[in-house]
Symmetry: C2
Subunit: 494 residues, 2 copies
């Protein structure tokens, strides 16, 4: 059970990253140059295109191609004098990212930029084997970060060749979360293709032995600790209360009713799922702890953790009273609109096309160890159990994860010979525990946004943005201009 909790949680966390794309549309915009229609979302027009990509870049026996979707927006593109901002799509439908990575739209004019949003293979419409893509390990064999980066490299080369005036245009990779990891790795592995990368909230070190496995949950806990008196303590105490109650049939009935569960708790397994669902709720809240009201998975108030913590001020209440408060807190996340009839444990995030794909990636390359101890965090203690994790992967997909591969391939902590990468991280974001939060060299720079949750900087400007994120965005544009200038000066000298 232990492993499946870590495992399930990881997936949902990343499915959250996918769904999160929806958010960016909502905060109102500060920038005058962008329209702000009544819906609150910005009208962003793009063309949808498809490119024939090799299914396998690294072998020649499979020579077929698939249609990779990508989006182009050229409203501010200046032929011969502009830049290309290239979003390295992550685990979801690329239109979500395009519509909601407000930063790129906001800075397009300043950088005379052509915007490209490239969909990651096996997500959205870019399915190498159509609706069979997820049916077995053979079809899934070409789902990896390396293949995705090769797609991006081939696509950029193609665009530069075919778009008039683009041939010598500097390209900057931009991505958030897993997309941020890809942006950073894209610059590392294909520096001849991209001049630099903005890797927002990219946990490139959330891998084997690079950071303490407890960092993630500890940051979630800090967020709750800061957001209300005794808040994290209340959650920490809730697990024992829950265990006591769930040990009797009457207690299970009470819990099912008090938490308005669609399916009542019956087995030990149900209880484990219930606890995983609660944990995921706290984690999701930490990731989306934004300074403004937003409609994400469910509509949420500004600073949602503060709203949650209003119900969690008395950690020492008797079990049922404490858990009633926990329910009130959870209710903020799942029922802010007030119309949820009951709560479904299998759903902590909006349904995401990317769920299956990420599940497979987590079972192959993307092994991100996590653990909790209940002391430095407010979660039930759970060790990182790679063997159980691996067995689970084998059961589900018929493949075994290779936890050392990502550090071997992308360098782990030894990345100082690379250049032109911005690693931005939010202080509230649990993924910052696996991110690069200190400058490595003059050209591998870290930007911290203390009041930021998960890649707040990639979102459109909002009047509620803290200064730190405004400064971060300015600095990001400053570095992009530097990279572009350097390339242009260098070319001019030739």
């Amino acid at each position: 059970m232990g492993a499946s909790r870590s495992f399930g949680r990881l997936l949902v966390l990343f499915s959250v990253l996918v769904a999160e794309g929806v958010r960016g549309a909502f905060p109102r915009l500060r920038a005058a140059s962008l329209p702000d229609p009544a819906s609150g979302s910005v009208s962003r027009s793009y063309r949808t295109c498809y490119f024939d990509q090799k299914i396998d870049h690294f072998g020649f026996a499979e020579d077929r191609t698939f249609k990779q979707r990508f989006l182009i927006a050229d409203q501010h593109w200046k032929h011969y004098h502009g830049t290309i901002l290239f979003y390295t799509g992550n685990e979801g439908d690329i239109t979500w990212f395009a519509n909601n990575t407000g930063l790129m739209w906001n800075i397009a004019e300043e950088l005379n930029a052509l915007l490209i949003f490239a969909e990651h293979r096996y997500y959205g419409e870019s399915l190498p084997f159509g609706n069979k893509s997820f049916t077995n390990a053979k079809y899934l064999n070409y789902l990896s970060s390396e293949q995705a980066l090769a797609d991006f490299a081939v696509l950029v080369q193609h665009l530069k060749k075919t778009i008039p005036g683009a041939q010598n245009t500097p390209v900057i990779a931009i991505g958030g979360s897993y997309g941020g990891m890809l942006a950073a790795w894209f610059r590392m592995k294909y520096p001849h293709v991209v001049a630099g990368a903005l890797a927002a909230s990219a946990p490139i070190w959330q891998f084997e032995n690079l950071v303490p496995c407890g960092a993630f949950y500890s940051i979630v806990t800090q967020d709750f600790k800061k957001s209300g008196n005794c808040c994290s303590e209340s959650i920490r105490n809730s697990w024992a209360a829950l265990n006591r109650l769930s040990s009797t049939a009457e207690g299970l009935r009470w819990l099912s009713c008090a938490f308005r569960l669609c399916s009542p708790l019956k087995t030990v397994r149900d209880v484990a799922s219930f606890k995983a669902w609660l944990s995921e709720t706290w984690v999701n809240l930490a990731m989306v702890d934004y300074p403004y009201k937003a409609n994400f998975l469910q509509p949420l108030p500004a600073w949602p953790i503060q709203a949650v913590c209003k119900y969690l001020r008395e950690p020492k209440l008797p079990d049922k009273a404490l858990l009633k408060n926990i329910f009130q807190a959870v209710n903020v996340y799942y029922n802010y609109s007030g119309d949820a009839p009951c709560f479904n444990l299998s759903q902590t995030a909006t349904q995401s096309l990317g769920m299956l794909g990420w599940y497979y990636q987590a079972c192959t390359e993307m092994v991100m160890p996590m653990c909790s101890d209940g002391v430095n965090d407010m979660f039930e203690p759970q060790k990182w159990d790679f063997h159980a994790y691996s067995d689970n992967c084998f059961k589900v997909w018929g493949v075994r994860p290779r936890p050392s591969w990502i550090p071997t391939s992308y360098g782990g902590k030894n990345i100082s010979s690379h250049s032109n990468i911005i690693f931005s991280n939010g202080g509230l974001d649990p993924w910052s525990g696996g991110g690069v939060t200190r400058n490595i060299t003059d050209t591998l720079v870290a930007i911290m946004i203390p009041e930021g949750a998960h890649h707040l900087d990639l979102r459109a400007n909002s009047p509620y943005d803290p200064d730190s994120v405004l400064q971060a965005r300015m600095l990001e544009v400053h570095f992009m201009k530097l990279w572009v200038e350097k390339i242009k000066t260098h070319k001019g000298r030739k």
Copy 2:
């Protein structure tokens, strides 16, 4: 036919690179620290080891492993204070390279170095599917430069972890020819694994549109032009003479007899093979135009092209007289020892285990366009015909080459963001046409050895070495020390 000539030649050229390993043993050594037994070869002892490598680093459906062979020599290795010199094995048996890359043995003491020679998958004993490895496209699917580099990266990480005192040791990649390309690419793609690379005679630009396709044959021609009066002219005129003679049955009989061919020429195809065999002979001579006697494919005198050119001073002789001289010239290459009973057109180099493997690589990634025009070179005009080349590959292997992939993957001419690579080239080496012969940055440096043929600098010291190669070797060691020093200083500061 056109394509098959280009095609066949390419392979043999590279099979030559393999066999060439045999040579290094013969020149007598200048360095006192190394024994020089009567045989002329240096006693170089190493341990043979095997490492379980994943057959597929880039996919997870194939999870089996194979035994990669590697050799270790630790006579001069200083734990904690030394370096690791890592030979990135190319298309052949790794013991050949180990026994004959004299440079590494010569500089081991100076660098307190542990020597590692890693065999390239699908060569020597490192066969992923044993003796079935070459039977079909499915088994061959894991033969690529990317998989080989991943092998090297994983192996280095393993060695650093398991050899006491090696954990923080700087590693330097060294290779020649295709092995030199791998050394350079290893540093480019895995800079966290290797501190720098010596890429000797590595034609990393002998790919699609990066250099003129005629450069290669033009350099061969220059070698002959410089080595004797009217020498290249005689060869250039020989093709027409040959065409005239081979147009009659009598002429074919005469040619078969005059050239002591084991199988007489009969068909148009035979004549094409005969011409390809001659071309390959001239090319091979250019590659091994060393300043001392050496036993390579056949025993050869010092400066073999000069020896050949002694027979080629009269380009305007009548056809048969001219071709008799051509035979004398060819006889130097194939029969310097005087005991060849007849000449076999299918053999221009020693039999090499690597032939099949390279043939496949040339049909997938390693597409190196070559052409001749008979004006800037002494060969019959032949255009580069990719389509015929590709069709031939498909016929033989069931795969089609992807000529753009290597430049896309490794950067083509845009490699300036990398660092710590020495590109050494010999002025006599036809492969220098596809090599990096000018400094790109302060840390991507080119070393030219005007009197050098194919990676002369990697060979053991010889009293006949021209000064230019001695200087090249000194400079190479100088850079290696710089890289190592920089890493050690950096670590010391931490």
